[in-house]
């Protein structure tokens, strides 16, 4: 138990930065915003350094009574998974912030809102009590809404509206679920609930509350999380939102916000409702596969860069969920496959964060050079005119394609290794998704980068400037390094995954 309140600091710093920006009129906005944004990465690294992977359970925990009468605690903690996602947020946020603030005449409000958003996202990853968790979960919507609405494209208003409303509708289910849990157990703390579940008393307590309550609670939580990490049928808000949102925000949305959904699946559904998850595993697996395959298919049809990227991130996140649901159906004897699937899901979540960010930055670069238009047709032969942009986006593209040697492959291989072990048919269908992904990404690459310079590329099309390179380079290096040596991040999640695999029921 480390004594430094690192996690509170982690969440508070961005918010403090936002406050400072708000209060200090003459603040050097960009510098200040970056300092606070990057500070979370520094803290993340410190947390990682102090993190003892071999020990299971939560570290850097802080637990103080918040509302004693309701037994609600201000409980923060870090386990392998949250550490991974905190680091992801730490890496992606500066990238997103840079993209948001690029060539913005009055960056103050945007930076302020972004910092709020980042704080809320970090809050979600470290909170261990439903109360603070849900607050951060909901609060993240507010700045996102305003960022999208304020600096988004033409249809931003409507997109932001649908985004917030659908997410809220979903989280209403979540709230109901935890209300039921609270009614049954009297506590909302994840750790205590997990303990109850481990002792097997949770289902009994829930049925005590009402006949159908356990399933209802499960469905509520599932819907809430499914909307956030777009599980197939509930993803309709995503394309419009990613297309209309300002590139930086879209980047943050896809890289981090969708991971909040995946994190929720692991932290809540996997831990608290394993039985229900197992019962519905097949259906959910089908949906996730649908997301993956149909998502990729739909991406093929898109002519708008960002909408295509939206579908591609739907595809990738769906792969994580495929792995999760396959693992949910796992039984004793399939430990290896379950471990492969779960660690694959987490690694994929992390890697997709990186590759999606890079892709969105490139999309932003393309957009800014084509006068805000996002249609493929507006581009052609960009590689001839802007080779560095082509090179960087090539790396990002092939990483999200799953080319071995880059980080995308590691997650993909683990997921397929796991899913094949658990549900071979799903793996086979999944490969169709992979093929489609390769197809639409290369089509995009061919239409935009190859061929003679045409459209916007014909006109003044400056190559990446120092700012953009400074943002993209670390991402590409990270992608290559993690591709070659995924061992850097897997040790954190291994004990977690082994623990989960050990709890598989008898066949």
């Amino acid at each position: 138990m480390n004594e430094l309140p690192l996690l509170s600091l982690l969440v508070a710093l961005p918010w403090f930065g936002a406050l400072l920006l708000w209060l200090w009129p003459k603040a050097p906005v960009r510098g200040l915003a970056f300092i606070f944004c990057a500070s979370t990465l520094v803290l993340g690294v410190i947390a990682a350094a102090g993190f003892d992977p071999t020990r299971t359970g939560y570290q850097w925990t802080e637990r103080h009574a918040w509302i004693p009468s309701l037994r609600i605690d201000y409980h923060l903690g870090l386990d392998g998974m949250s550490l991974l996602l905190v680091l992801l947020t730490g890496v992606v946020s500066p990238v997103a912030l840079a993209t948001v603030l690029r060539r913005l005449e009055s960056p103050r409000l945007a930076a302020l809102l972004f910092l709020l958003l980042q704080g809320a996202a970090l809050g979600v990853f470290v909170a261990l009590d439903f109360f603070p968790w849900f607050i951060c979960w909901e609060f993240s919507l507010v700045p996102a809404f305003f960022l999208i609405k304020g600096w988004g494209g033409a249809g931003a208003g409507r997109a932001a509206y649908t985004f917030v409303v659908t997410t809220l509708a979903g989280s209403a289910g979540l709230l109901l679920a935890f209300a039921a849990l609270y009614a049954a157990t009297g506590t909302m703390n994840f750790v205590d609930l997990a303990q109850l579940q481990a002792e097997g008393r949770l289902p009994g307590l829930l049925t005590a509350v009402g006949a159908g309550v356990p399933t209802l609670a499960f469905v509520g939580a599932l819907v809430g999380l499914a909307v956030k990490a777009p599980l197939f049928p509930l993803h309709t808000w995503m394309p419009a939102t990613y297309a209309e949102a300002p590139p930086g925000v879209a980047l943050f949305l896809t890289a981090v916000m969708s991971k909040m959904g995946v994190y929720g699946f692991f932290r809540i559904l996997w831990v608290l409702f394993p039985a229900d998850l197992r019962v519905h595993a097949d259906l959910l697996l089908l949906l996730a596969l649908g997301g993956a395959v149909l998502g990729a298919m739909a991406a093929l049809r898109q002519t708008d860069v960002r909408r295509m990227l939206a579908y591609s991130s739907l595809n990738h996140v769906s792969y994580c969920l495929v792995a999760l649901f396959a693992a949910a159906a796992g039984v004793k004897g399939h430990e290896v496959a379950v471990e492969a699937a779960l660690s694959g899901a987490l690694v994929q979540a992390f890697n997709h964060g990186l590759s999606a960010s890079a892709l969105f930055v490139c999309a932003a670069a393309l957009e800014s050079r084509a006068g805000g238009s996002r249609e493929f047709a507006r581009f052609g032969g960009v590689r001839a005119v802007a080779p560095v942009l082509a090179g960087m986006s090539g790396v990002a593209l092939f990483s999200s394609l799953g080319l071995p040697g880059l980080n995308g492959f590691v997650g993909e291989f683990l997921i397929f290794r796991g899913v094949f072990g658990l549900a071979p048919w799903a793996a086979v269908v999944g490969t169709v998704g992979l093929l489609a992904t390769a197809l639409f990404l290369l089509t995009f690459w061919q239409r935009v980068f190859h061929g003679p310079p045409a459209g916007a590329a014909a006109g003044p099309f400056p190559d990446l400037d120092r700012g953009e390179i400074a943002v993209l380079l670390p991402l590409c290096v990270l992608m290559i390094v993690l591709g070659v040596a995924p061992g850097l991040i897997t040790p954190w999640i291994n004990p977690l995954v082994t623990g989960w695999a050990a709890t598989l029921p008898m066949p």
């Binding site: 093929l300 049809r301 071995p404 390769a438 089509t443 190859h450 003679p452």
Partner: protein, 674 residues
């Protein structure tokens, strides 16, 4: 000086390091990337020779050195390097041909501004290929396999300004990708089944006997042995990469890339990777041979596909008008022969043919390259012709290559390796059809090569490019000569009576039998070759075409057949019609569903919420508010009436007070109120 297994990783590492120069150097850099690449190749060649020497010390032993990649959950993925004669020979082959092609490219691409990038990609390709050859793990093999695919994509699409090249690159990558998916499933299944990612891990590896016995014994629901299924899945990957039917369509289009690329990648090395894979995992493929109960044997599938591809490649090569496409189809056909050899059980013959084919096919391609360079990028046969006189060395080397390809008896390496395959095919117990296909292939091969030679080198120069062609520079002719020597000499390594190569590859004894035993077969094949040449001469030698637009003699005699062949049997259109449209349809359905069905549902939810809001407002507005409004109006009205009572006249108030006093008094006193 021998190279131990643990240093094997140096072989792929050096070209990789060289590629970094090419890729990250500034775009217009020339000398640094070229020098880097050549140096890398030379070093790799040296190391490969050392490794081969090491392996040949004791051909039977497989030296491995393993390392842990990363752990997931409780499992640790271990990868490793493997040194055996097969790897050694292949490394030498790749590095040698790579070097020669690199030298050729320095001249061939001297005008191209992005030559630095080209050599970067080239080194990357060689590195990936070498990695693939020396690995002891199927996973690492898969990783290199994909990187090779990437390199081919980059090289095919090198001149990305040309849309055709870009499309070809994408098509190549996608088609190989389809194969790779099969490979991935196979890889995953193997790891699932064997628990190890290594081939040979002291008995626990995937290809070690005990695991193979376990695999072949476990049966799938359909009765198939697991090993068969995994074998076939891996074969799908190999088919993709080696351009076997039905995944061969990308190879002819890959000719869009620069000729040295075609020479190195699409003739000698990369396409051979599939065959190498089959050779490497042969024990797995053959695991189910002994089981009679198993309904289908993996190798049978390979043989059938190999035969079909051989026949198909040869047939399609006949009607092509592009010099490189003819050679491409010829490669497809030869790869078919190699797969046929593996299918019939003799992977050694396949490897032997692979080695010889690599050299003479590289020779032919580079010859074609020199012709193209000389005629200022003229690739259409109809506009070539009469180059024999102008380009003597190219013609001579090209003729030697053609001889080796057709398998002219005794002198050329092609003859011996093809003989070995036909001999093995003849001995195949399952069915004789592959043998027959092989023979027909021999005839067709002879025919289209003769056509090619006659069209290009003999007759009148039909295009102005051909008219002014003069011999290529020295740097291009050097490699041609070396390759010509190899094309001729290599055959003697694997003579039936002196099977030096085969024993080394087999790592054990190889039946030595005199010339007489397979003599009958040799006579038949020689006859077929001569038949092919004669036919070739009959159609194309007798009356030289003088006009580029003149009808192809073959078309005159069999127009329908020729048109079919020219259209490549409309296979591409067939694919487009079936797979392409299915995909597009699926995509359209997905997009439609996405926009209307799910979107619709959300939209509907939104609409209902709005209408509920509307109704609520209406009720609220007309119902409740109206009620409140008029009551308050009523109150205000009465209020105003009462206000009138306040007259302001004090006395009127006092009167009221007095009366009130009286009334209250009366009530209190007598009202009995108390």
């Amino acid at each position: 000086m021998t190279l131990s297994a643990s240093l094997l990783w140096l072989i792929p590492a050096t070209p990789l390091a060289a590629s970094v120069f090419g890729l990250f150097a500034p775009r217009t850099a020339r000398t640094l990337p070229i020098a880097g690449a050549l140096l890398g190749l030379v070093a790799a060649l040296g190391l490969s020779v050392a490794a081969l020497a090491g392996a040949l010390v004791d051909p039977a032993v497989r030296a491995t050195s393993d390392f842990a990649w990363f752990t997931f959950g409780a499992q640790t993925l271990r990868l490793g390097w493997l040194l055996d004669p097969l790897a050694g020979f292949m490394c030498v082959l790749v590095t040698l041909i790579g070097l020669l092609v690199a030298l050729f490219s320095t001249a061939y691409l001297r005008h191209d501004p992005r030559i630095g990038r080209f050599f970067g990609f080239l080194s990357l390709f060689v590195a990936a290929m070498l990695g693939l050859l020396v690995t002891n793990s199927l996973l690492l093999l898969f990783i290199c396999w994909e990187l090779v695919g990437l390199a081919s994509y980059l090289l095919i699409g090198f001149w990305y300004e040309r849309p055709a090249a870009a499309a070809a690159a994408k098509k190549a990558f996608i088609t190989t990708r389809i194969g790779d998916l099969g490979f991935l499933i196979g890889l995953v299944w193997l790891h699932q089944a064997t628990g190890s990612a290594l081939f040979h891990d002291g008995g626990a590896g995937a290809l070690d006997a005990p695991t193979l016995a376990r695999l072949s014994s476990t049966l799938l629901p359909g009765g198939w042995a697991v090993s068969t299924a995994i074998g076939l899945l891996l074969f799908v990957g190999a088919a993709g990469k080696s351009g076997q039917f039905p995944l061969h369509v990308w190879l002819p289009d890959a000719m869009e890339g620069p000729t040295p690329v075609s020479a190195l990648i699409h003739a000698a090395t990369m396409v051979a990777a599939g065959v190498f894979l089959m050779a490497r995992v042969f024990p797995l493929m053959a695991a189910d041979q002994g089981l009679a109960t198993v309904p289908f044997h993996a190798l049978t599938g390979v043989a059938v596909i190999g035969a079909v591809t051989a026949l198909l490649g040869a047939v399609l090569a006949v009607a092509q008008n592009d010099i490189k496409r003819v050679l491409a189809y010829s490669t497809v056909s030869q790869l078919g022969y190699m797969m046929l050899a593996i299918g019939v059980g003799s992977w050694v013959a396949a490897v032997f043919h692979l080695i010889t084919h690599a050299f003479f096919k590289a020779l032919l391609f580079l010859g074609a390259g020199s012709v193209i360079d000389a005629t200022h990028h003229e690739q259409d046969l109809r506009r070539l012709g009469g180059l024999a006189g102008r380009m003597r060395v190219t013609f001579a080397t090209f003729a030697l290559g053609t001889g080796a390809l057709m398998g002219l008896p005794f002198v050329f390496s092609g003859f011996w390796s093809k003989e070995a395959i036909l001999h093995a095919a003849e001995g195949w117990t399952v069915s004789h059809l592959p043998f027959a296909a092989g023979l027909v292939g021999v005839v067709l091969t002879a025919f289209y090569m003769t056509r090619l030679v006659l069209e290009v080198f003999f007759g009148k120069a039909r295009g102005e490019g051909a008219a002014h062609a003069e011999e290529s520079p020295g740097l291009m002719r050097g490699p041609l000569v070396v390759l010509a020597v190899a094309a001729v000499g290599l055959g003697w390594l694997g003579l039936p009576n002196w099977p030096w190569l085969q024993t080394r590859l087999q790592g054990g004894d190889w039946p030595v039998h005199g010339l007489g035993e397979g003599f009958g077969l040799m006579v038949v094949s020689t006859a077929l070759v001569l038949l092919g040449i004669g036919a070739g001469w009959w159609w194309y030698g007798r009356v030289k075409r003088t006009d580029a637009r003149a009808l192809d003699p073959l078309a005159r005699s069999w127009p329908a057949v020729h048109a079919a062949l020219a259209g490549r049997l409309w296979l591409d259109e067939l694919y487009a019609a079936t797979v392409g449209r299915a995909f597009a349809m699926l995509a359209r359905v997905a997009a439609f569903f996405d926009r209307w069905v799910w979107g619709g549902a959300v939209e509907a939810a939104g609409r209902t919420a709005e209408t509920v809001g509307q109704v609520n407002r209406a009720v609220d507005e007309d119902g409740l508010n109206a009620g409140f409004d008029n009551t308050s109006e009523h109150l205000r009205g009465s209020g105003r009436r009462y206000a009138k009572a306040q007259t302001g006249d004090a006395q009127s108030y006092l009167r009221v007070v007095a009366i009130g006093l009286a009334v209250v008094g009366v009530l209190l006193l007598w009202g009995g109120v108390r």
